[in-house]
Amino acid sequence: MIPAPSLSAEDLAVFAPLAKRYFETISGDVPEFGESSIDLGEPELGMLTGFIPVEGPVHGWVAITFDPDLADEMLSVLEEPRRDEETRRDLAGEIVSTIASNARWHFGKHLTVKPAVVTANASIPAELNASPLIFQVPFQWRAFTGSLLISLTP
């Protein structure tokens, strides 16, 4: 992939296919992305959220958020017997770190993709600011739902 010479928010659309590829590669099932929304105010987060801070021509974060039931399904795909909070959190970290690594490869030097941060309490990490305007795309993987979020500094 060739990074866009002049990167903008639209280039962050690549996070959707990157997330799609992760789920497809691990499980063989492709998640379906729904209709996006742009909402004022704090985003609705699932219990598990992996944040990928980005810096450069665009500044903010991209996040994947979902609930423990999706994590448990993915853990069963991975043949992981444990179903505790720590394991689910590790899984969320693995998912989001994989997506972040692919994003780093995609954007190269045009965008700094920082190490992922995971929360397991439906909250935004203190070190990350949320834009008052959040871009959100819901997705469904098997019987479970989650969302891809993009929050950019105006």
Partner: protein
């Protein structure tokens, strides 16, 4: 719902911690400190000699930084406000008080700013000797030593002013969103272009117009606030290259 410019803002609870991590323009710091006490954008505009759009834009930037938040009321505060509204309230104004020169004979030091007080005072007290206090103290504020007369409005491009719609007719929002989305190639990319355009629009004004989600905007959704209309059209043109009539 409050009318445009009537939403009240105040510093965030963790203002001091966040402020130490921020680098803002002098104007934004002044407004951030003015919001040690609640104020609407209209009051800030008046107190800081800003246009309503500039005040709105400044508030938008400060909201994004996390330094300020929208002021909400507890039920008790709501009742108190409601009761006060029935009695004639004491007239108050937001004052940006002149900074004190340091007590010295040095001509250079004579213009040095010691600290600034910004906040609400009853009109009857506004001309009294100010008590200088900020949450940090003036000497801890990077780039905050500014005389009041140096406060300038946040810049608005002459183009934006010229493009301000002259009529108060409502503008339908759906065609604007559709045009931007189409320009962005549709799909998530097109929607992200819409996102980028609306990141430039004063969020407070959107909220005041009852627009909390662009997904919920239908064919009948309109924008009445002329400043908001101008901001949307300006952002659509500058960010997306989409020229639309008001």
């Amino acid at each position: 719902m409050n009318t445009p410019g009537q939403e009240t803002y105040i510093q965030s609870p963790d203002f001091e911690r966040l402020a130490e991590e921020q680098s803002l323009s002098e104007e934004l710091w002044l407004i951030a400190f003015a919001l040690a006490k609640p104020a609407t954008t209209a009051e800030l505009a008046q107190a800081c000699n800003l246009t309503p759009v500039a005040a709105d834009k400044a508030v938008t930037e400060l909201l994004a930084s996390g330094l300020i938040r929208k002021k909400t009321l507890t039920f008790k505060e709501f009742l108190a406000k409601r009761n006060n509204a029935q009695a004639k309230p004491e007239k108050t104004e937001l004052v940006v008080l002149a900074a004190l020169p340091t007590a010295t004979n040095s001509p250079a030091a004579a213009t040095e700013i010691h600290s600034i007080r910004i906040g609400f005072l009853p009109v009857s007290q506004a001309s009294e000797t100010p008590v200088f206090a900020t949450r940090f103290g003036g000497d801890r504020l990077p780039g905050f030593a500014a005389a009041v007369e140096e406060i300038r409005p946040v810049a608005i491009s002459a183009r934006a002013k010229a493009k301000k719609p002259s009529t108060n007719s409502p503008m339908k929002l759906r065609p604007v969103i559709n045009a931007i989305e189409t320009k962005g190639g549709g799909g998530i990319s097109g929607q992200l272009l819409v996102y980028r355009v609306f990141l430039r629009v004063p969020f407070g004004s959107l909220y005041d117009e009852g627009i909390t989600s662009l997904k919920l905007v239908d064919e009948n959704s309109t924008v009445r606030n002329p400043d908001l209309k101008a901001a949307i059209l300006d952002a659509a043109r500058e960010i997306a290259g989409v020229e639309l009539a008001a």
